[in-house]
Symmetry: C3
Subunit: 385 residues, 3 copies
Amino acid sequence: MKNAIEKIKALDLKNYGHDFLLTWNKTPDELEATLLIAEILRERHRLGKPNLVFDSGLAVSIFRDNSTRTRFSFASAANALGLAVSDMDEEKSQVSHGETVRETANMISFMTRVIGIRDDMYLGEGHSYMKEVSSAVQSGFEEGILHNRPGLINLQCDIDHPTQSMSDLAMLKSYFGSLDNLKGKKIAMSWAYSPSYGKPLSVPQGIIGLLTRYGMDVTLAHPEGYNLIPEVVKLADKQAQLSGGSLNTTNSMDQAFTDADIVYPKSWAPFHVMEERTSLLKRGDQPGLKDLEQSCLANNAKFTDWECTEEKMQLTRDGKSLYMHCLPADITGVSCEQGEVSASVFDRYRKDTYMEASYKPFIIAAMMFLTGLKDPLLALDVLEN
Amino acid sequence: MKNAIEKIKALDLKNYGHDFLLTWNKTPDELEATLLIAEILRERHRLGKPNLVFDSGLAVSIFRDNSTRTRFSFASAANALGLAVSDMDEEKSQVSHGETVRETANMISFMTRVIGIRDDMYLGEGHSYMKEVSSAVQSGFEEGILHNRPGLINLQCDIDHPTQSMSDLAMLKSYFGSLDNLKGKKIAMSWAYSPSYGKPLSVPQGIIGLLTRYGMDVTLAHPEGYNLIPEVVKLADKQAQLSGGSLNTTNSMDQAFTDADIVYPKSWAPFHVMEERTSLLKRGDQPGLKDLEQSCLANNAKFTDWECTEEKMQLTRDGKSLYMHCLPADITGVSCEQGEVSASVFDRYRKDTYMEASYKPFIIAAMMFLTGLKDPLLALDVLEN
Amino acid sequence: MKNAIEKIKALDLKNYGHDFLLTWNKTPDELEATLLIAEILRERHRLGKPNLVFDSGLAVSIFRDNSTRTRFSFASAANALGLAVSDMDEEKSQVSHGETVRETANMISFMTRVIGIRDDMYLGEGHSYMKEVSSAVQSGFEEGILHNRPGLINLQCDIDHPTQSMSDLAMLKSYFGSLDNLKGKKIAMSWAYSPSYGKPLSVPQGIIGLLTRYGMDVTLAHPEGYNLIPEVVKLADKQAQLSGGSLNTTNSMDQAFTDADIVYPKSWAPFHVMEERTSLLKRGDQPGLKDLEQSCLANNAKFTDWECTEEKMQLTRDGKSLYMHCLPADITGVSCEQGEVSASVFDRYRKDTYMEASYKPFIIAAMMFLTGLKDPLLALDVLEN
């Protein structure tokens, strides 16, 4: 751990008051610090050592969509650092846009150190809402209304899912030994069939938006029409060029899997469907939503062969690619009749996917640590000595 | 802070087991101690110093009406002092009156230090319910069932809203420099137009029931018929006479604003309407409630000129009166078409209203401090040394 | 307390990772240690001494049925030991059986020390679900996914209600002076009339399944047909023989009360009705459920004389039997027209029933202490010195 602390000291940290909303707006040093702090907190937890760096304070969570895993990861992280979770249940209050966001953001923040938000339902909304909250607490802090500037953590928006992608990166760093070792490794971020529809784009976008920064060969595969937000793909492509990696897109799952070191087969809805769905949802057009769902499911059904089977796994490097998933996966014959992954593949990698998930509370804790503490280096020293 | 602690030591405190239900049942010393402790806790928080005076224990909240601000203020206060919030969700349990209140009050209190209750929906109910809970935990404590006597804090009832009025008093003390400086200052507690109906009376009642004790010239203004509970007005009048201040009532907003040092324009429902509404609610008379709402809104609509505009603000002392509001305000052209206050007035005082709100978690913490600790003076000494 | 600690040191503790699901699967030493720790924690709480043995960590609660008392007891216990409660609200997530239970159990457990579950609605389900969760976290711990092995605490299942029966045992130990003094004491665990139906069997089963181990004369009384799960009665009978006590069953409340030292009159649904209800609930057969309810209530109504009246109390030893109830009781003329107990009997023993309930948070804390800590003896020493 001393080694990790030395590494952190060499990094350029500008975290207090710097929200964690999109990984691509964070510097390489900020990302590395997040990984290193997560590793330190994880190792200390394994050894039974406390990670209490706040004496008190609230960690406010705002979930605009259901969640079990992220909810518990957020609660675990807050508790580990000494914060108490206070959930903002919007049914018991009223949060909307405009003036009210500014006011509510301040009213819940008088003793708040971090605010975690999940808002992934509407394209064009989640990230905007987070920026509104961020600007509200920033000005509340500058005006002296708030004694502390609560740091925001994106627990999944319409664009990115940084607590997931950073956990995945932590898993990959551990699995392959270092970030450097990721260079040249091929990851297949592939669409996969699911009997449900309307799954958010933020996981695949988060993956290509993060891993292209580490010199990896990222292959994005999906059936024709299942595009992601074009700006994110463009940004990932630019990042890949800068990092000496590559971003390839294909309409063939097989091609993506061929010689892959890592596969990440996961369903999502096409970008244009999410756009249409968003406008139907806003208009409250129930029949329209029903029609859209049916036409989507019908379209999905053409691609039931996009399943991560043993045969497909045989295409990967030595047939031994790492299988990743954000969970829960749609497992053929287990959680659904036909899904993203065959039961035997999932079962072989079940432990790995649990391990992948186990990084999330520590990644969130590291984000809280960096954005909520005025002097994270001092806090590290106090913890260790 | 040393100064504040010395002042507290000179006061006559009898707080442990003394609930904070109505400000007018508290002695001047108890009120002053509450303000002083709130100031100490606030300043310590600003400096990043911990306020942990309980090693553990629950702060139980019972919200019989929606709330965001008070909910978070209560959670913040509890957390700052070292208590964990446990919300009693009545949908997941059953609390009614009679034997059950006594039993439930004890069952939730075995390790509880404070109980905060909001119950402002029905005239004649909220305060009675709090007294029932209070007497239940008092006898539980006397019988040895409870090791501690949880202190009750009124988070808004049908009669008073002491966490609001005490926060407002803390704001005024800070704004004008001292409680003494409030003497002779004119405050206009004025009804204002709102497009909604059924707003509780507890804010204006709380204001006139508290500020008349500090030698202020309190002017209560409302359209004919929009009376408050007569007993509270009577009590406020008596207090004003004792304190060397005055309580004037008028049916003219202009008259109230003229030369006012502070204005507090806020909508409420007429007392007789609240009485009628209470009996309709009890009978579950939906058509009756609908009729009442419509006739009320129609009546309200006669008074849309009861709006705090720039013109009205010009009537106040040097045109520079402080504008106060418990938030959220109905802002014309922002949160509604026509409301309590014009957008330009609100915007000019937005920061002040946020500051006003920022006192609430510290006021609640001070109430917890005084009612939940057996020896608050010792706790202060421990904090400071 | 030193005495109690010495006693605990002499016991054979194998608690870490040993769930508390059924009292009859725990050794006498484990039960005694639970009682002793509860007594120590209770006495320390009474003296205002902290019981913080965890520096951080979650106590996850899963309530598949409504609860106030147990919910607050669980929250109190967790808080007293230094854990934060995180409630798993199944409406906001999805937990079902099979693969999903294993996954969810691990996902909520990365920083979790104890998991409390109430699942008492379906015969044949609650205990099975708990065993599924237990085996999931056990393998997660063994695979290195979880750094700690969260201990499970049964907060009421279809078979047993150990936090209730152990609290009752703590009450009896205190009331009669020692566990030894319970030998030969007669307890009447009797059915009683209630105007509701479908009350779980776990309380009477828990009582006969625990108290038959302490040499007591346990009499189980109910109208013909109101049987408990046959396996539990058989097990209790075997235990009674081993402990030198007895288990008698009768269809006469009077006979049960005669010369009883303790009476525990409480309603429950017949075993065969619960079986039928379970299969109707599973099929979602609403008309069938309605029919069943009506026929049950009609059958219940034949036994309104199964009420704990002053006359019945006169039959007990010197007319001075202790009256016990898990609360809330159906009190004639108070909470219902005709119920389990007359108002005058309940009122005379009200304080005793509250005291009985007051043991629950400490019993739960003791269970958390023993199952969640790797070295409970060391923790005790640290607390005391």
